[in-house]
Amino acid sequence: MKKALGELLSGFVSLLTGMRITLRQFFMKDVTVRYPHEALKMPKRYRGHIVFVRDAESGKSLCIACKSCEKACPSDCIVVDGIKREGEKRKSVTDFNLDFTRCSLCGSCVEVCPVDALEFSKNYNLASTRKDVYQIDLVKRMEDGPK
Amino acid sequence: MNEIPGTTFLLNVVFAVSLLATVGGAIIAVLSQRIIRGVCGLALCFIGLAGVYYFLHAPFLALMQILIYVGAVCITIIFAVMLAEPDEAVSDQSSASSKVWAALALIACVALGWGVASLALGGSWTVPAQPLANDGSLRAMGIALLTTYSMAFEVISLVLLVAVLGALAVAHGGRVRS
């Protein structure tokens, strides 16, 4: 009887302790970021989909269309094509298509690139109702891009 | 009484609704194919009956009717229905002989009801010269229960106790978990 009552009491105290803790949390500040109104800064190494690195001088892509990334990609989502133009040492890229629906953002392409022509974008807002939004043409994107 | 002429009419309507609920509920209770609807009909009948009690100047009884019958009896029956699932099959109701029997039963019951009603109405009830001093309130009832009817009260509590124990014993007897 005494033991049962003691248990009842300690149980009740444990409930009150829990309620005290949640009440303390009640008066604390929110921890959430109200996403569409404010957004967090993506960290330096954030792995978004890939984009071309722009050559500082020419403003063109560094890509030499060597197709290493195409080979390294585990999901077969990159298709690269390039031509060798007159007067240039290396091939230059004409076509770089990323099928983002299949990309697993592993970063193999960036790592394998011999000329460091690829980098990750910081773009995380990728929701869409249409599939063709995810067929990213990196060449076109760079040409249209602001920088 | 109220001066507004509509009041009596409204009360009549409420009374009629109670009567309708009682009789309709009872009919659903005994005639519906699915037993669960029967129980709902019973609940409706009891709620209507509560209204009738209210008109008979017994509000406490009306509330008790709801509390005990709707809140306890009906729910217990539904619980039993859940456990035993006795949905009556439609097939064995529609054979020709059963139809005849059903008609006979109906006629017999209507006759019975008619007979009882006419007996009740035709009987010469002695109207008391003067009502008793008590007002039939909850207080008066409590006093009566503990004085005049104390024996019956005790017996009823005993019956309930025995019923609970008996129900436990009977229900437990069938429950042998391996």
Partner: protein
């Protein structure tokens, strides 16, 4: 009509009681399952209660007596339902049926 309040006349209640009795007995005859019969029994109880109340209200000097009796009926009905249902459950456990016909076949 000299008395427009028909809720103040005993006839309404007495007819109601008779009707409930008839319905209850009809159900008792018609129903094939034990639970159905129990429900019909409740309706008959209700008929009795209404009669008690009505006669008490209109023809008795003591307004308490009827109420007390009906309270007793309620207590009895509750006890009846408790025992009845436990028996039904027990029957169901043993015979897998609660039809009165099936159960009566099991005699012997």
């Amino acid at each position: 009509m000299n008395n427009p309040t028909f809720y103040d006349r005993p006839a309404a209640y007495l007819i109601l009681a008779a009707a409930l009795l008839a319905i209850g007995i009809l159900g008792f005859v018609r129903r094939r399952t034990l639970i159905g019969m129990l429900i019909s029994g409740e309706v008959i109880f209700a008929a009795a209660s209404v009669n008690f109340m009505a006669l008490n209200r209109f023809y008795s000097p003591d307004p308490v007596a009827g109420q007390v009796v009906v309270l007793f009926i309620m207590g009895l009905a509750a006890a009846e339902v408790a025992v009845g249902l436990s028996i039904i459950i027990a029957v169901y456990r043993n015979y897998r049926s609660i039809r009165s016909k099936d159960v009566s076949e099991m005699n012997g």
